[in-house]
């Protein structure tokens, strides 16, 4: 169940309300790998397999309070780009796909799509009485700037769903540096999510409200995230990597009846050993 929660944290928690960079920063992989503008234009892909351990200070969903906050899981990172069309699925940045449309000396512009994961009864037994919060597609534009070891990213996405519409936006800045063969990176971000998205996923409408889930409406929200990560090469094919994330979530999100508590401070740590093909 913990892992299910984590999966949800990536796209929903991250993109909808908290936007924990841990959780889908968008530039995490590029910063970790000190990527440059030249990599954005090349055809090809990556594939990595590994195992990792993660721990977080908070349980997100009501009803899961007794669950373990630490878990072991597989790490599968893969992505491919062909003539500008790309798809990425990795534990740094979550899932995204799109088209790398324009590249200048320092900036790369993408048309990007992704997915907001739904919140359903599988996430918590307590949610059986609630309406199903379905997954939704997101589409938008992303600009990524590469200046030496610094990467900046601006992104705006529109969520597409019959029952709601809303906008997400984020500004991220990341930098990386090397201490001997240890590669370290730091990312900070601000994330905006409009009321339409917040309310659909974390609000409780009058029809589903109960004594346990009081009616609740959410407004627009802004959250902040930081990530400190490290990567160390063991051989030409094996790496170990770790990261520490802190996110400050919005009050809107903290007060949602779906939440296990009203904390706005989220800390998570993870480490993994990865085979790079």
């Amino acid at each position: 169940m913990y892992l299910n929660n984590l999966k949800l944290l990536f796209p929903t928690f991250a993109l909808v309300c908290l936007s924990n960079a841990s959780l889908a920063s968008g530039i995490s992989r590029d910063v970790r790998e000190s990527a440059g503008i030249e990599q954005t234009e090349q055809n090809g892909g990556y594939f990595e397999l590994g195992v990792g351990i993660s721990s977080q200070n908070k349980i997100i969903f009501k009803g899961n309070e007794d669950e373990n906050k630490t878990g072991l899981g597989a790490r599968i990172n893969l992505g491919y780009q062909w003539n500008g069309l790309f798809v990425d699925l990795n534990d740094d940045d979550g899932f995204s796909f799109g088209y790398n449309a324009i590249n200048t000396e320092h900036w790369s512009y993408d048309l990007i799509g992704g997915r907001l994961l739904g919140i359903v009864k599988d996430n918590s037994d307590d949610f059986e009485v609630l309406r199903k919060r379905e997954s939704a597609a997101t589409f938008g534009v992303r600009a990524t700037g590469f200046y030496d070891n610094h990467i900046f990213q601006f992104e705006v996405r529109q969520a597409q769903h019959d029952d709601f519409d809303g906008t997400q936006a984020s500004i991220l800045a990341g930098t990386s540096w090397q201490y001997r063969n240890l590669n370290t990176h730091l990312i900070a971000g601000i994330h905006y999510s409009s009321s339409g998205i917040n309310d659909y996923y974390w609000g409780v409408n009058s029809e589903e409200a109960t004594s346990e889930f009081a009616e609740y409406q959410l407004d627009d929200s802004v959250s902040f995230s930081t990530e400190l990560g490290m990567t160390y090469p063991l051989s030409e094919s094996w790496i170990v990597k770790g990261k520490l994330n802190y996110a400050y979530g919005s009050e809107e999100f903290a007060n949602s009846p779906l939440r296990a508590d009203d904390s706005q401070h989220f800390v998570s740590a993870s480490a993994a050993i990865i085979y790079v093909f």
Binding site: E33, S34, Q39, G44, Q178, N181, E236
Partner: protein
């Protein structure tokens, strides 16, 4: 007609003699040269140079790779030896009147480096060893890089 034939036979005999003489001279000269070369080889030491570890792994291609390494050498003759890298004209370290040596140092390079043990009396390289720099993510091996699987 007969005179001409006789002249031809004499000419052929003379040519044959000259060729044989030439071959003898060449043979003698090369034998002398071989002797000199053997003398030179016999004065040159033979040595073994080893580096441990032999590889430094960086995360990205082009990054400076850091590795604490130990270089050891053993020669069959006592002498003055110096350790050079192909990147530097001055020696990294020298040993006087020695037949072996050991050096620990902090390797820092973005590229592979060849080390040479030089016998200083003759200024001859007697052994070489290479410290290889490898990496996980080459410039064409990540997000937008070629699959190694296929």
């Amino acid at each position: 007609m007969t005179k001409i034939k006789l002249k031809n036979v004499k000419l052929k005999a003379l040519m044959g003699t000259l060729v044989l003489l030439g071959q003898c001279l060449v043979h003698q000269a090369s034998a002398e040269s071989l002797d000199e070369s053997s003398e030179s080889l016999s004065s040159q030491a033979s040595a073994e140079l080893s580096i441990s570890p032999e590889q430094c792994i960086a995360l990205h291609q082009g990054q400076v790779c850091y590795q604490n390494v130990i270089i050891e050498w053993h020669a069959d003759k006592m002498g003055d030896y110096c350790l050079f890298s192909k990147k530097l004209s001055r020696p990294i370290n020298c040993w006087k009147k020695s037949a072996s040596g050991k050096l620990a140092f902090d390797f820092q390079s973005a590229h592979s480096v060849v080390y040479q043990l030089r016998q200083m009396n003759d200024n001859l390289d007697v052994a070489t060893a290479e410290m290889t720099v490898a990496w996980v993510y080459g410039n064409k091996k990540r997000r937008r890089a070629s699959w190694r699987l296929f």
